[in-house]
């Protein structure tokens, strides 16, 4: 059984890490499933986080991650060594999430809220360094932003997740989404505006509610 361990490495190690990754990719492309499993271990957390942020619940994120890795294995032969592997991985992840969202819409299912199940999990585990109040505030803020993200269209959500959360540049996001930098900037700008307005509206309502209670 393989263990998953993610450690922050210095830049030099990253370069070496990239080379070892390329080596793993070559072996996996020729049919070495053990090498492919190492690739999965290396990237599973990234993929799972991305799918969760795009789809909103653990079950869909799990299915999507599975599909992502299957497609990665299928198209590994098409991957070029001069390409950025994680950018390529993000492209596949975004496409899988888009397909699942489309399927959902065809079945008449609405976007599942991020809050489903998330609040329960976080409340179960209390960080010792935080007080209960702080944890509750944290939870509330996370739920707020999760609700705000759920209101965004798929493309804007993907843009803002890749740009503001994953920390990729506008150019990298444009490559992943097969779009232009101008379009990505426009989508990111629109997403940030909507999130800000949503939070503002929520806090205003909360403030009005509190004043009523008083």
């Amino acid at each position: 059984m393989a263990l998953a361990l993610e450690i922050q490495l210095p830049v030099n190690a990253l370069t070496q890490n990239q080379q070892s990754l390329i080596h793993l990719i070559e072996r996996a492309a020729s049919g070495d499933t053990a090498a492919f499993e190492q690739i999965m271990i290396h990237s599973q957390q990234r993929v799972m986080s991305m799918t969760w942020r795009m789809l909103g619940n653990e079950a869909d994120a799990r299915d999507a991650s599975q599909e992502v890795f299957l497609r990665v294995y299928k198209y590994l032969g098409r991957f070029k060594q001069d390409q950025d592997f994680f950018a390529w991985l993000y492209t596949i992840t975004v496409n899988v999430c888009r397909d699942i969202t489309k399927k959902r819409q065809q079945h008449g299912e609405r976007f599942t809220s991020f809050t489903a199940g998330a609040g329960e999990e976080t409340l179960d585990v209390l960080d010792n360094s935080e007080s209960v109040d702080q944890t509750l505030v944290h939870t509330e803020q996370r739920e707020l932003i999760a609700r705000a993200m759920a209101t965004l269209p798929d493309k804007e959500r993907a843009s803002i997740v890749l740009r503001d959360i994953e920390g990729l540049s506008t150019h990298e996001v444009a490559i992943i989404l097969k779009s232009s930098s101008t379009t990505v900037r426009s989508q990111v700008s629109s997403a940030r505006k909507k999130i800000k307005l949503y939070c503002e509206h929520y806090l205003r309502r909360k403030g009005a509610g509190t004043s009523h209670e008083v």
Partner: protein
């Protein structure tokens, strides 16, 4: 810079996505405008909230489960390829081209065969359509004989006219072609011969005269109008009785 312009640029400014020169202008405006400054602060807070948008901590068991399912699926597909995969494996690029080329060739040959046969059939078809006095159309006759092109119009009123002026058809097979028509009265009966031939047939000038008084004489003349043909024939006569001739237009 106006507040409205600054407010539009604030989302990009908050994420440091604005061009340098524009960012400087926005910064300068924010220093003097309280409303825009407050809006910029709100964008900053929303951005910080976004950084908290983290997924829950997924267990190692879940990750292991995903990997195992993926590897199992890979093993299954490698052992039993799907029907689509097995069929599509036949269509490798070089083989695919060869199959496509051979299909195209086969279709072309078949098409050519049908076109040639169709044209050849046309040449041999002569449709004889008779309309009786009541105007009813009778079933057409088909005869495999080439049709000469009408050169000129010849009158049939005077059978003594030179045969060179006539374009005639020889009645090879009277049974198939000649319909013993009833006595006709004037112009009410018309006999039309329609042809489907496209090729210009050679004029066939021949006048078959009966060897014996018992044989019928038949002459057909094609007018310049392809749809109109004049047929003249006489029925065999008994000795002493005048010959009956009929003329159809």
């Amino acid at each position: 810079m106006k507040c409205k312009q600054v407010q539009e640029m604030l989302p990009l400014f908050a994420g440091r996505d604005l061009e340098e020169n524009r960012a400087k202008l926005v910064t300068a405006h924010l220093q003097s405008c309280g409303v825009c400054s407050r809006a910029a602060q709100e964008y900053g807070e929303a951005g910080q909230l976004l950084q908290m948008f983290e997924p829950p901590q997924f267990s190692e068991a879940m990750y292991t489960g995903i990997r195992q399912r993926v590897l199992r699926e890979i093993d299954r597909k490698s052992v039993t390829p799907t029907m689509f995969e097995s069929i599509s494996s036949l269509f490798r690029p070089p083989l695919r081209l060869a199959v496509a080329a051979s299909l195209l060739l086969a279709v072309s040959v078949l098409a050519l065969y049908f076109v040639i046969n169709r044209n050849g059939g046309r040449q041999n078809q002569t449709v004889v359509v008779e309309t009786g006095g009541s105007g009813q159309r009778k079933t057409p006759d088909l005869q495999a004989s080439p049709e000469p092109r009408p050169e000129n119009l010849a009158t049939t009123a005077n059978p003594k006219r030179s045969a060179t002026d006539l374009t005639t058809f020889s009645s090879r097979s009277r049974k198939s072609r000649f319909r013993p028509s009833q006595k006709r009265t004037g112009a009410t009966n018309a006999e039309l011969v329609a042809t489907r031939s496209v090729d210009p047939p050679q004029p066939n000038i021949s006048l078959k005269s009966p060897d014996t008084p018992a044989e019928a004489l038949r002459m057909e003349m094609q007018t310049q109008d392809r749809n109109i043909r004049i047929i003249w024939f006489s029925q065999p006569t008994k000795e002493g009785s005048p010959s009956e001739s009929s003329k159809g237009i």
